[in-house]
Amino acid sequence: MNILAMLWNNLRGGSRTMLFPERPKVTKGFRGLVRFDPALCTGCAICKMRCTARAIDFKSGKGTFTWSYDPGQCTFCGRCVDGCKSHALSQDAECPPVYVTIGALKTAYTVARKPAPKPASASPAVKPAPGGTA
């Protein structure tokens, strides 16, 4: 009769539903928003290939590439992070924020391509795309 004891405890303990500003505590290894580190990215675009939800987009330009991410499409599966050989991707260990406008959390980075096999002396020029966090 364990279930009856559980029901009784629930009845006594009141509701565990959280009302809006309160957020649930997350456990270790929780997969939240994907974060991008332009300094580490090599522009291999494996993350785009691995993203089945098509939340990550990757466009090559002349000497640069643009990496963009739409959390609205993301399923937080973590496959992009697992597949990133250069550890440029990571995931927040907290719930994604609540937002009211579509695409409010979209991010885009335009990163200059690193010179291929030469010694990594030149630091990559990093600049967010215009209106990148709109």
């Binding site: 029901l7 009845l11 509701s15 539903t17």
Partner: protein
């Protein structure tokens, strides 16, 4: 006192019929939802939620329905609501409120009609989910009705009357309690509650026969479901309530008992998971048939004694 046209209309339209039964149906639906929510550690719906749901559904559009099947789809919820309202109207809540010989049989028929309408509605909607739900409802209703009908008929036969009011006034016997228990076992299946919520198993077949319904038609189904709650819990309350002469006390007792039955069913619903169709049918045919056989044999025995 026999039932004449005026009292019949008053009972159907005012008390315990539509005017009383519709708010009571919303109330019982709310009690069930709230009780299950609290037992699951949730907040649950606000008090007026079933009423809001009903009004919201009334304001929505329904998809155009053509042909005979479309006409039938519109018709089934209306038949279900009228049958359930009629069943509530027959309950002898007030002492000496009238009735006629055999009204118990009419009540049973009216209680069964919504379930038949659901079966027919699922098949006429021609949705695969509706058809599965209807098939389940049909199998389920054959299984639990054996117990349900035998329990009620044995109570009636042992007390020599098929008149509800006379039954309600007779002193309670052990046999009647056995019958009430058997009816209680059938109620979760009749009201589509866990563990027998197969016909509208929402995680598997959406809402079963109701899948293709929307707007006012769905509102009518919700209403008929609520009225079934009132009729079914009211039937148990009628059979279980001790006979009292005072009108207000009788009404109060009826309401309190109905409320208790709803709470009991909610606890069962919250504490159990949905069973598969073969387990459910086996349960009703094997376990509860014992109840019914016991009830019939003791009814015959009591008849021979008297």
């Amino acid at each position: 006192m026999n039932l004449n046209l005026t009292t019949a209309l008053a009972r159907f339209l005012i008390f315990p019929g539509l005017l009383f039964a519709v708010p009571a149906a919303w109330f019982l639906l709310w009690v069930e939802r709230k009780a299950v929510a609290l037992m699951q550690g949730r907040i649950g719906p606000p008090f007026m939620q079933p009423f809001f749901d009903f009004v919201k559904l009334l304001g929505k559009d329904t998809p155009p329905r053509v042909g005979a099947a479309g006409m039938l789809m519109k018709l089934w919820p209306l038949i279900a609501v009228s049958a359930a309202a009629g069943a509530v109207g027959l309950l002898p809540v007030l002492p000496s409120s009238g009735g006629f010989e055999g009204d118990l049989i009419l009540l049973l028929a009216l209680l069964e009609l919504p379930s038949m309408c659901i079966i027919a509605a699922g098949f006429s909607s021609r949705s695969i989910f509706g058809e599965i739900g209807s098939a389940r409802e049909a199998v389920l209703s054959v299984a639990y009705n054996v117990v349900f009908l035998l329990a009620i008929v044995s109570i009636a036969a042992s007390q020599h009357t098929f008149r509800l009011e006379a039954l309600a006034q007779l002193p309670a016997s052990p046999l009647r309690w056995l019958g009430v228990l058997a009816i209680l076992v059938c109620l979760p299946a009749k009201l589509h509650l866990n563990p027998f919520s197969l016909p509208n198993a929402e995680q598997e077949i959406y809402s079963g026969p109701m899948t293709e319904y929307a707007g006012p038609e769905l509102a009518m189904w919700e209403l008929s479901h609520g009225l079934e709650w009132v009729a079914a819990t009211g039937l148990v309350a009628t059979l279980a309530a001790p006979h009292v002469g005072l009108v207000w006390l009788a009404v109060l007792l009826f309401l309190a008992l109905s409320f208790a039955v709803v709470l009991l069913l909610s606890v069962v619903a919250a504490a159990t998971a949905r069973l598969a169709i073969d387990t459910t049918v086996r349960f009703y045919w094997q376990v509860t048939l014992i109840f019914a056989v016991l009830a019939v044999s003791s009814a015959l025995f009591m008849r021979l004694l008297s």
